[in-house]
């Protein structure tokens, strides 16, 4: 079974090389190569996940068989394999679900470029998930930023350019802080490999020296990654970037890009700094407060929004708040809940974005709520998709959002002194979620004069591929909601091998 150990390396290289090949292919072939490549990566990651889950271990893969510091290392455990599989499945569904819209919104000669960006994005996400080297992580963070920016500005309108420039500025601020943090960490410990840094930090912490530099370093890294993953109050770039880019980009940005950074942060907490040393810095309390505030502010802004895409974008801020709140609870269940929330939110938010585009396309391309009246009847599969996504976001049992909220509540009760704020804010946030998502669901299922829109472009109605991706998204949501235990077991086992 040694061959399986090559799978992480194959996945990263496959996505990189298909990006290079795509640049030389005709448009149609590029689309299919992209879909086939992401499917292959998904299958490889799923096989690796099942293999590691059975054997219960993890392994280090030496790139080019050179030991560090000359070579580079990949580390794969069950959690990494699960994340890689999840990222690639959601990316496949998002790209397929939005490809018709891509034809409409993006110039013909830039389609190949879009698929190159998708390949680059996938390879950087996989590298962030698998890498065992902090500087490699920084390089792929930047590659991720560049491809995300390209995915926003591929649709050539003034709004997307402004959104891209705002996204870039905030992202670069974040990466600057991250780079400084990593440089200082390298200076203090003399290593770049995660496991070696952790060993040194344990020694330094025991000796009681370098307390302040270590605290500053960890803070810089955390703030950098928090800016990049749009934690409140660093979320200003988010609504425009998600709201005006082409729909596949919005789905990928909201459900994968920010989650890649959060997963890197989890790796840094457990594998670089070590949970105990990280806990001592007190940053978890800051995460807790910002997470709670984000949960409320994001939802309030979403309620006030009259544009369905921007409403979903604001809801992302609230959901990212949940993840950071889970970190802040400072116990094992809270961390597991946050990781499950990454899965639940990733699956749901991309579903909502893709469903929303189906609804707006049968409503005269308007994103205003008044025009969406009855859209659920005009595009049934999109209506059902939006309903499922909304129920999941609100936290109705059987859907993925319920499990994560249940876990957050459980972690809140077990945490010391944080139980009351957690439960109160969780309850308020669920009510706020219900207000804006149920408002939209009622709106799209209120009968309207169908003939009024009969002349509109109804291409999504009979679009087979769109229907299949919607069913795929709904299935992922139901699997996460109804069969959550195996996933939770894998998260538990994966975190166990982290520390």
């Amino acid at each position: 079974m040694d061959f399986i150990r090559n799978f992480p390396f194959f996945s990263i290289m496959l996505s990189m090389f298909s990006g290079i090949v795509t640049s030389m292919l005709p448009k149609r072939a590029a689309k299919w190569l992209n879909a086939v490549m992401i499917s292959v990566v998904s299958v490889l990651s799923l096989i690796l996940m099942i293999y590691l889950n059975r054997t219960g271990g993890h392994f280090i893969y030496l790139m080019g068989h050179f030991p560090a510091p000359y070579g580079n290392e990949i580390r794969a455990g069950v959690l990494e394999a699960m994340m890689a599989a999840f990222f690639s499945v959601i990316m496949l569904l998002s790209v397929l679900g939005g490809h018709k819209k891509l034809d409409e919104e993006v110039d013909e000669d830039r389609h190949n470029l879009y698929y190159i960006l998708v390949d680059m994005m996938l390879s950087s996400l996989l590298a962030l998930v698998y890498t065992n080297d902090l500087f490699t992580a920084y390089v792929f963070v930047e590659i991720n930023t560049i491809s995300a920016c390209g995915m926003i500005m591929i649709r050539r309108t003034g709004k997307t350019y402004v959104a891209a420039v705002r996204y870039m500025i905030m992202s670069l601020v974040g990466s600057g802080l991250l780079l400084l943090g990593i440089s200082m960490l390298y200076d203090i410990t003399g290593h770049l490999l995660m496991s070696d840094i952790k060993r040194q930090i344990t020694l330094i912490a025991a000796s009681g020296r370098y307390h302040v530099p270590l605290q500053v370093t960890i803070t810089l890294i955390c703030v950098g990654l928090a800016i990049k993953s749009a934690l409140f109050p660093f979320h200003a770039w988010l609504p425009d970037a998600y709201g005006y880019s082409t729909i596949s980009s919005a789905a990928i940005l909201s459900s994968l890009v920010s989650k890649g950074y959060i997963f890197l942060l989890i790796k840094i907490i457990y594998r670089v700094v070590g949970y105990d040393a990280f806990y001592m810095t007190g940053i978890l309390n800051v995460f807790f407060v910002f997470g709670l505030t984000g949960m409320i502010t994001g939802s309030i802004r979403a309620i006030r929004e009259n544009d369905i895409r921007r409403m979903i974008a604001y809801s992302s801020i609230a959901q990212v708040g949940y993840i950071y709140m889970g970190f802040g609870l400072a116990n094992q269940i809270g961390m597991e809940a946050s990781i499950f929330q990454i899965l639940a939110h990733g699956a749901t938010k991309s579903l909502l974005f893709i469903a929303a585009i189906g609804l707006t396309d049968v409503s005269g391309f308007s994103r205003k709520f008044a025009d969406l009246t009855g859209a659920g009847y005009r595009n049934r599969i999109a209506g059902i998709g939006f309903l499922v996504g909304s129920l999941s976001m609100v936290g109705v049992p059987m859907f993925s959002g319920f499990i994560s909220k249940l876990l957050f509540a459980e972690a809140g009760i077990l945490s010391e002194g944080k139980a009351i704020p957690t439960l109160v804010v969780l309850a308020i946030s669920v009510i706020l979620n219900a207000i804006y998502f149920m408002k939209t669901c009622i709106r799209i299922y209120t009968p309207a004069n169908y003939m009024y829109y009969a002349s509109d472009n109804l291409q999504f109605r009979n679009e087979l591929l769109y229907g299949i991706t919607m069913i795929g998204f709904i299935a992922v949501n139901l699997i996460l909601g109804c069969l959550s235990q195996p996933f939770l077991d894998m998260i538990h086992a994966g975190l166990g091998t982290f520390s």
């Binding site: 510091p69 500087f135 920084y138 390089v139 930047e142 930023t145 560049i146 920016c149 390209g150 500005m153 050539r156 003034g158 709004k159 350019y161 402004v162 891209a164 420039v165 870039m168 500025i169 670069l172 601020v173 600057g176 780079l179 400084l180 440089s183 200082m184 390298y186 200076d187 770049l192």
Partner: protein, 124 residues
């Protein structure tokens, strides 16, 4: 703190440069000035890394005059990191500059506030 600051004056200079670049990137309204800020910020980090990788009296790790002692050379990795970082920062600057060109072509200004105002006016 005082003596430490004096003996580490070059690191302190790198940090001051970082803050200058960082605040320019965040606070300037002109896009070109923002990009200059970005480059100052990145260069400050590279300066910091280079300083940390340099040991007085030692040379770059290329064997000269048959001297093979480890004590004569510096670790090449910090310099390698700086090179990688420069590549990353060049590509990011190129992307930002191309975005700026597109924005200037469309809005005929480099001021981000002004661009937002014009965009809002276009919408109405």
């Amino acid at each position: 703190m005082g003596p430490n600051l004096i003996s580490n004056y070059s690191e302190a200079a790198a940090m001051i440069l970082f803050v200058i670049g960082f605040s320019n990137l965040l606070l300037q309204q002109n896009l070109i000035k923002k990009i200059i800020g970005l480059n100052v910020m990145d260069s400050a980090v590279y300066l910091f890394l280079t300083l940390k990788g340099y040991i007085r009296g030692r040379v770059a790790p290329i064997i000269t005059d048959g001297v093979q002692s480890v004590e004569s050379y510096v670790n090449p990795i910090p310099a390698g990191l700086v090179l990688t970082g420069i590549v990353v920062s060049v590509s990011v600057s190129a992307l930002m500059l191309s975005l700026t060109v597109q924005l200037y072509k469309r809005f005929h200004t480099l001021n981000l506030d002004e661009i937002s105002t014009r965009l809002r006016r276009e919408e109405q």
